[in-house]
Each structure stands twice: as C-alpha cells, then as structure tokens.
C-alpha cells in the first residue's frame, strides 16, 4: 500500500485521536500520564474545529469554535451530530514547562507553538547550546504527542475500544454517563 493510500484510508485515526484526547483530558486524565517520571496536565484551549461528513470521501463541513470567550459546548454539539475533531488548541504542562499549540488531525502537525521557557543567546558561543536547549524543549511536547498517540492506538486495537471506551466517549458527548462494563466512569481502571 503506498503512502497516499494509507494517508487517505486511515485519515480517521487522526480525527478519532484528537476527539479521544479531548475526552481523556476531561474525564480520564490518568490515561495521559504517558511521560515517565513527569507530571503532565493537558487541557483544551480556545479553539476546536470539528469536521462533519464523509472524511474518506473528502466531502465534509467544518465547524470552528474559536475565541477567548468560546464555549466548547457548541463544539460538543457538533461532535454529537456526528462530527470529529480536526484541529484542537491544547495547553500542555510537563512539570514546570507550559506549552500551547494547535494539533491537526490529518498529519498531527503542530502550529502556533508556544513554550513558557525562553532560550536567550547573549554571545555567539551560546548558539549551539541554545539550539540544543530549544530542541530539548520542543521534543518535550513532541514526545508527549507520540506517546499519547501510542496510548490511543493501543486502546484502538484493543477490544475494550468498542466495549468500554467508545460507549464512554459517546456518553460524554451526549451528556449521559455510559454504563459500559457496569462501572462508573470515574471508578474505571484503564490498562
């Protein structure tokens, strides 16, 4: 299978991942403790784009919720109506470092990247060190995305996706707690 075919055929994985990321950040944040020995906190920021329609056929409509006063309930309604997240603005804290960026579903591409730690260059000799430090900071966010995606794929190929996680996600979207597995959501242990 060539790259273009894989890209189109499995485009839904990116959309499902971002939707799950939103769900997990609000309901089961322990699922997102993917960085070893680091305290991680993820929240959804002030922008969510939902696509609604046939993703694989390329026919879709977009709903964008954006702005400081934006209410994500509207985005939730779009998800309830059958949409999937296509872009999401995330705030990620890894220990003391704070990141903000938008993640897109198609390529898991990062845009608008901001990091609370600044790297300053005072002398020419500092350039190499500054580049390494900057790369180290960027890799903190990239590592989180890779490992969170790995976590998602592990769930996605597991039978629990259909029997437990998907019903929970649907319940969250519809505002009704899922009774999947007969255990309340906040008492579940995901492995």
């Amino acid at each position: 299978m060539d790259i273009a075919t894989m890209f189109n055929k499995y485009a839904f994985l990116g959309h499902e991942f971002l939707t799950w990321l939103w769900y997990a950040s609000e309901n089961t944040p322990e699922m997102l403790n993917v960085l070893k020995n680091k305290k991680t906190e993820l929240t959804v920021g002030n922008k969510v784009v939902i696509v609604n329609g046939t993703l694989q056929a390329g026919r879709s409509a977009k709903v964008t919720i954006q702005g400081e006063e934006s209410d994500l309930k509207e985005a939730m309604v779009a998800v309830k109506d059958g949409g999937w997240v296509s872009d999401i603005y995330l705030r990620l804290n890894v220990d003391q470092v704070k990141y903000e960026f938008t993640l897109d579903a198609q390529e898991l591409k990062i845009s608008g990247f901001k990091c609370s730690e600044r790297v300053t260059i005072e002398k020419d000799d500092d350039i190499d060190g500054a580049i390494m430090e900057r790369m180290h900071l960027i890799s903190g966010a990239l590592e989180f995305i890779d490992l969170a995606f790995e976590q998602f794929i592990k769930f996605r190929i597991n039978d629990k996706w259909n029997s437990q996680i998907l019903p929970d996600l649907s319940g969250w979207v519809c505002g009704t707690e899922s009774t999947a597995a007969g255990i309340p959501l906040n008492k579940r242990v995901f492995s």
Binding site: M6, L13, L142, D146, F149, E150, I153, N162
Partner: protein, 133 residues
C-alpha cells in the same frame, strides 16, 4: 544537524499587473490615436508589463528551519506551507538520495512507534472508522 531551506521568490500581486496593464493600454491607444487594441497587441503589452514589474520587484525570502537527527533518522521541518514541504522533499532527495517518509497518524503507528508487535500492526490494518453515538 541544523540547517534551513531558503526560498527567494518574487511575489507580484495580480492587481498591480492589472493596473499597470491598463495604464500601458491607454498610453498606446493615445500614441497611435486609436480607440482599441487587438488581442495580440494586448497580449504583447501584458508580457512587457510583467517583465518590467518583475524586474522592479525585489525578492522576498522565506526561511524554513530543519533539524535532522541522523542517529534516529528523524527530521523535523519547521514549515506549514504545502509547497515548501514538497520543495524540501524534492531537494532533500536530490541532495542526499534519501527519501523522506512523512509522518501522519497511520505511518506514525506503523513505522515510528516501535512498541507494536506484528500481530498488533496487522490489527491496525483492519481498523475502520468508529461509529460513535
């Protein structure tokens, strides 16, 4: 390894070409005492206008940073325009005879994340979109 792709190009807004062409057409009509110009004359004038405007327009430079970790075979390209990405892929192949594999959800799971067994990768291939709600 840290380097950059530099792209110099002249960006000429279509509005400027249109405005300069209108001026050139009026000037030629006045010079020849005519009310209209033929299609060929207009076409020639447009070529002249494009040449003149292009020669007067300075280059604009775009710089896209790249980091390449040769130990992990990972490369980060810091740019979002699709054409910049395609240009970089072509130049990279010409320069190093190495083909870049773009990472998107499926390729990330299949090639980069080394934690999956062959059985799990086979399962990944059978996935279809979830029917939520």
């Amino acid at each position: 390894m840290v380097f950059a792709l530099r792209v110099d190009q002249k960006k000429i807004p279509a509005k400027i070409i249109k405005r300069e062409l209108e001026i050139a057409i009026e000037k030629k009509k006045e010079e020849h005492g005519r009310d209209f110009l033929s299609k060929n004359e207009r076409s020639e004038l447009k070529e002249q206008v494009v040449d003149i405007v292009t020669s007067k327009t300075p280059f604009t430079t775009d710089l896209y940073h790249v980091t390449w970790n040769a130990n992990t075979n990972e490369l980060l390209f810091f740019a979002s325009p699709k054409n910049a990405k395609e240009l970089f892929e072509t130049l990279f192949y010409k320069s190093f005879e190495l083909k870049l594999i773009p990472l998107f959800p499926f390729s990330l799971a299949n090639f980069k994340l080394g934690c999956f067994t062959e059985q799990e990768k086979d399962k990944l291939l059978t996935l279809t979109p979830s029917g939520v709600r």
